[in-house]
Symmetry: C2
Subunit: 234 residues, 2 copies
């Protein structure tokens, strides 16, 4: 019964995620599912991003309790709302849909960052309708996380390797070991090492973000043109 | 239906956890549920503990994939077995029961450390039959984790604050902020700051461990004496 219930919940979630995805595409909005361990630096990355790009960012921040992350993002000039999940260890498509309902500031953006619950397991299983999965992994977590949490890294489009300013103080930690672990789990390895503290690498991440956002915007423009052709008489 | 299924699973788990707990008590074994984020230092703490105590340790190490943690513990001289959970984000009482079945080395110890899946959410919800919950929280995760993951910290008997050797390099991080956050969530604040790297604080942790182990052993001795009295004639 447990497995059947789980499958039926996932099927319902996929349906709702498809609905979210349609809305994102129509709006020309790049939607990212930002995942990672507690304290890996998801909110800090967004704060650092805001200062280094002209893209208009909006964010949904999920936590079991408190709206601290959303408050931090608002203070950084990002339109942000919190989703409080109680005891749930991940977001699902319905929570995202409800949080975005009648929230104009969230849609009036180029990029919607959905900051998931800090957790390297379950968030990867629930599609939210996002365009891409971005995993925030901090160097302090050690080099073996991609091997130990493969469910998440198999679904990653990009890994942001954060807190690299701490590398000199971490014994037995080598960025190449993480890259090797990603090669064994990620479909196509894309990793950007960065430090929000020193700013190193943030420009690379912003470059990735702007490239993805441009692709989404072009797709939305082409779709709108198609619709125009279809409604025009013969 | 979802809530009912969840409640029935938890009831079944509690029943099995009670069964485990009886076995631990009869064996005079101190069983700990060691929880924390991925990369918080659960395995490293156990390695450092082994070198600084005469207590006989055994360990169950849970991960979605790989037996890396159990292999590290074995290399450190700790009797260890891995539990591979696949996509499950937490241990339950049945997994622990099965892993301990016919595993003499696991029982031939003073302390059984059950190293849960790296996750600050769900492991707290599933009782395994342990005597105490020990949360491993690293200073690199930031000061607000107890507020954001209250479900776990409400159930904590002890918080090991790890990686304190990195404190000089972390901006905006203060041990007192973590203590203040614990005061708002933990029933009774017990926090031991430590560094497996420098050894600082490890003796305090070993002292706690030995105290708890002695209490469990005395209880087992008293229970055995009670049984002897009861079976003796007149």
């Amino acid at each position: 019964v447990d497995v059947e219930v789980q499958e039926s919940l996932l099927a319902e979630n996929d349906h709702l995620a498809g609905h979210n995805r349609e809305h994102f595409r129509e709006a020309g909005l790049l939607a990212l599912n930002l995942m990672g361990s507690p304290g890996s630096g998801k909110t800090t990355v967004l704060e650092a991003t805001r200062a280094r790009t002209d893209l208009r960012l909006s964010a949904l921040s999920a936590d079991l309790a408190t709206d601290r992350d959303a408050a931090r993002l608002q203070a950084a000039g990002i339109a942000a709302r919190s989703i409080t999940t109680g005891s749930a260890c991940h977001l699902d498509a319905r929570m995202v849909h409800e949080a975005l309902h009648h929230w104009d500031a969230g849609w009036d953006a180029d990029v919607l960052c959905i900051e998931n619950v800090g957790n390297l397991v379950c968030p990867a299983i629930y599609d939210l309708g996002q365009d891409a999965n971005v995993i925030v992994l901090s160097v302090t977590e050690g080099p073996d996380k991609p091997l130990k949490y493969p469910v998440m890294f198999r679904k990653a489009d990009l890994v942001l390797l954060t807190k690299i300013d701490l590398l000199p103080y971490l014994r037995g930690m080598d960025v190449e070991d993480i890259r090797a672990a990603l090669e064994r789990t990620m479909p196509e390895v894309r990793m950007i090492p960065l430090s929000a503290e020193t700013g190193e690498g943030v420009a690379d991440w912003v470059g990735w973000l702007e490239g993805r956002r441009n692709a989404v915007a072009s797709r939305a423009t082409a779709a709108a043109a198609d619709r125009d052709i279809m409604v025009q008489p013969g």
